[in-house]
Symmetry: C2
Subunit: 388 residues, 2 copies
């Protein structure tokens, strides 16, 4: 039996993880489930899977969770410290699927305990970069990516032949605005942006997919996860989302991972690695799927990808500030306070100010990360206020 | 330095191998080159690469080869025994690229010496099946496939997860007659059949590509090379020849190998394995390549694939007889004695007669292989004579 803790169990990745576990009850047991405000789902899942403890990040919901679990024998807890304590419980694998910078502390807490991590929280790598991977390396903790793109690279990357790498290419669906011009993009409504063609995901990541910021963040993440040099990583648009990413070698060979766009495949891989596990997903039949097409990213209309590569090249806290500014910008957009094109503009302007303020520093510790994160949030918030 | 012997050095695969070696003279040296009747090429290559010996399979050409090598200090030899002796010389890798059943004896001779083999001769696996792989296993000799499809599978097949295999799918370009109907195929000319859309290859294999017999033989070969069950292997048409084959797992994940259609990529892999080597090939740029399309094989028009799968399921010498009959049938077609559609018909009829004659036996030894091979050739030749 493999003992699992899921951070972010009520979110999209958490729910898909539980669905895979549902089909393999003989293989997995649930140690702890950590959710946020969806107490009904959290309690129902804790009961269904016999978790030892259920935790909500929101202390105000402690009583509600306690009532929902009354008589089940399952412990309840709430608040940031409780989340970290849940992550520190002994487990064979922690699924780190809390969205945003909030996922960083508890995921690192698991790493420090030596617990292997299946990572779906990209901010751990984008914000905390070297610090995160250094702490994983110090404990020899495997970090298995859950994102479909990084799972694809994980399956295609020959570690023994890292010297023979030509490049790593992430595929992007292109999002709902793949064919829109800049003029039309000015007036994008929230509903348009939330209408992703191939994947059903949370709101934040869906907006990031529409701006292609998601792909940019994934490039940063890939750079942290795999031994890739600057200039060896890029993204292309592949509207069908069948080829999830690929790795090219110096002999002209390209290894790709394909599949239906269903997160349960990369989740099953992360749960079973180095083995594989039957996943309850539709199988890919290429004779029935659409033709596979590929096109370059329109960097003039979607500047986020190049912005992320530039921040990656800049190094240090540049990606931390970028990520923090993007979280603010997306929230502002979802609150209808800024327009769609202003998301990337706000991030870019924050980075310019950071350069002017000499706020881009190397990241020696987690405190440096928090400082940069705060700088990015405050600067972006102030910039957004001035835009109103 | 890796010491190489090339069987079939003047053929298409042999020449591509030498071209890869030409770019890595510091890594490889040539022990022996074995060719057939192209003495000019054989001698020129032996001199360019400083081979220790050059061998022609044709004893009548011994004097010609000796003259061509006069003063070079390179030994010359000729005839079947000399070919086998060349294969037995100590080498770090033998490239087995003699086309047809003639490749079997010398390749096995290398295996028996414990020499690792990069195998481009499919008849070794199609004709001699279990016998060949058993002898390789007995000496723990690695057999690295050179065919683009099997190289693709070799790169995508997770041996540790053979239990989690869903299926292996070979891609077929569909050949020059992919869209032709049966009526039109009756009148195919040799020039049409030799005009392959994506690959430049020898005449025999080009005709096999046109009938799709090549794909059928490759299915048999894949079955021998990898731990695959009956029903776990299939082929689909992919006209662009960019995806060279793929492996599907029970978690819904599909691993594929892609690249430009250039044999120097799988050859470089075989030469360098488990490492990789820079190959002088054009790199794949999916944003510039055609859309990738896939379609089912038209089994009604191209019966060869199902015929091969049936022979594989039948087991024993069925694939030996099939392969022998096909060699005769292709030769008859190239001599303009039978029509295009009669190639598959001749093979099918040979197998029917073999069943009637109880000529399909298990293959315990190489003698059984020769008996079955002879039966297939004689029966197909007689059938062809009756068709005239």
């Amino acid at each position: 039996m493999k003992n699992l803790t899921i951070l972010g169990s009520t979110g999209s990745i958490g729910q898909s993880t539980l669905d895979v576990v549902r089909h393999h009850r003989e293989t997995f047991q649930i140690e702890a489930l950590v959710g946020n405000r969806n107490i009904v789902q959290l309690a129902a899942d804790a009961v269904e899977f016999g978790a030892k403890i259920a935790v909500t990040a929101d202390p105000a919901l402690f009583d509600q969770l306690t009532s929902a679990l009354a008589g089940s024998g399952i412990a309840a807890a709430a608040g940031e410290t409780a989340v970290i304590e849940a992550a520190q419980r002994p487990a064979d694998l922690l699924i780190g699927a809390i969205v945003g910078a909030q996922g960083l502390k508890p995921t690192l807490a698991a790493i420090d305990q030596g617990t292997p991590v299946a990572l779906a929280n990209k901010e751990c790598l984008v914000s905390a970069g070297d610090v995160f991977m250094q702490r994983a390396a110090a404990k020899s903790v495997p970090v298995i990516p859950v994102d479909s793109e990084h799972s694809a690279i994980f399956q295609c990357f020959e570690t023994r032949n890292a010297d023979s790498l030509d490049k790593v290419t992430l595929t992007a669906s292109g999002g709902p605005f793949r064919t829109w011009d800049a003029a039309k993009l000015k007036d994008v409504r929230i509903e348009d942006a939330l209408n992703h063609p191939n994947w059903t995901m949370g709101r934040k990541i869906t907006i990031d997919s529409a701006t292609l910021m998601n792909k940019g963040l994934e490039l940063i993440e890939a750079f942290q996860l795999f031994p890739i040099g600057h200039g060896q990583i890029d993204a292309i648009v592949h509207p069908q989302s069948i080829v999830h990413s690929f790795v090219s070698y110096i002999d002209g060979s390209v290894l790709a991972q394909l599949g239906m766009p269903d997160m349960r495949t990369p989740i099953a891989l992360a749960l079973a690695y180095p083995e594989r596990l039957k996943a309850p997903v539709e199988r890919l039949d290429l004779t029935k799927s659409a033709d596979l097409t590929f096109e370059p990213i329109r960097h003039d209309v979607f500047p986020a990808v190049r912005m992320c590569l530039a921040a990656l090249e800049r190094g240090g806290s540049a990606t931390t500030i970028l990520n923090a500014a993007n979280e603010i910008a997306v929230a502002e957009f979802l609150s209808q306070r800024i327009g769609f094109l202003q998301i990337a503009a706000l991030v870019e302007e924050t980075l310019s100010l950071a350069e002017r303020d000499s706020a881009i520093t190397s990241l020696g510790s987690l405190d440096d990360v928090w400082d940069a994160d705060r700088y990015g949030r405050e600067t972006a918030t102030e910039l957004a206020r001035n835009l109103l």
